[in-house]
């Protein structure tokens, strides 16, 4: 295993993310209607918190990264997504 050199100065390994922003919002997207797998919500999510479930042809939401902005719900052409207050949030 290659030993990591100690790098002086202000650097951080890419992708280091001890802080996740899911705690910013207690309101999260939930699929209430029929997802047509159009991928609009997926492309518009700034956080990349929407995952394509290709097998079931629908989207999944990663609450750990979701900031609760609601763009997905707003842009869904079939209004299948609802922003729902999470229990115990």
């Amino acid at each position: 295993m290659k030993k990591e050199k100690i790098i002086p100065g202000p650097v951080s390994k890419a992708g280091t993310r001890p802080t996740r922003m899911g705690t910013w919002s207690t309101v999260k997207p939930v699929l209430k209607g029929k997802c047509t797998f159009c991928l609009f919500c997926w492309v518009f999510c700034p956080e990349g918190a929407i995952i394509q479930d290709e097998e079931n042809r629908k989207v999944l939401f990663d609450f750990e990264d979701c900031k609760g902005c609601g763009i997905c719900a707003r842009e869904c052409p079939t209004k299948a997504i609802e922003m729902v207050e999470q229990e115990g949030g």
Binding site: S12, T16, C38, V43, E47, G70, R74
Partner: protein, 283 residues
Amino acid sequence: MKLKDIAKEEFYQSSFGCAGCAAVLAVRLTIKVLGRNSVYIVPANCISTVSCYYPQAPFFVPFTVMAFAATAAACSGVSAGFKRRGREDIQVVGFSGDGGTADIGIQALSGAIDCGNKFIYICYDNEAYMNTGIQRSGLTPYGATTTTTPSPRFEDRPKKDMLRILAAHDILYAATACTSYPLDYMEKVEKASKVNGPTYIHVLTPCPTGWGFPPDQTIEIGRMAVESGMWKLVEFEDGQFSTTYTPKRQRPVSEYFATQARFRHLSPEQIAAIQKDIDATRD
């Protein structure tokens, strides 16, 4: 390009950007196009500020913070360095805000185009110095209030026409875009990546915090900017301007202004005058 063809892998996550931030979305989509073989030079702006505080490193690809005025010069240097090391395959991307492009960064941008090394300069335009709290920039549109042009005053200068400025530099490729039209934006990024010289993409990124609208309307408001004619999607290539998208519906600018706190002070007469100017520039 189709939505289903876009890379599913994420390359930019867990930034401290506001909920609903179009600039964060623009970064996310840019790296999806360019992939792992790209490096990002970001000066003082929202994106660097939300991506640069140790130990959080939301960029999954190489990234560096750069001085405010210096983005394009750094791109020029990195590009020259990669060329010397036989790594011209690596895409060098500058991701600068409107202030870092049209105001403090304009000199370096002009100079870097002259140097001629290959890089993609992306100006993400939220139309003010948002990172420091919504002060006006050279790209703040006529009529908007900001903290340095506060009510009862408002911005009394039009947006600097960056594409015409760069056309005057004989840049090989430049384009305007908007995060509400992601495929158009991503196709332009891809096109720029194939040009052997400096290129420029100016992407309008609506800002919920700075423009004064709820964070779920980011995409809708960008669409309204294009539909009202306040922002056009064009390309400059081979010395010619062309429109890449003509909106199917043309919206009165009053509808666009009504959605944002920064424009709500405008009187009907002021709005009519702005509408007249926009109508005069329509093809």
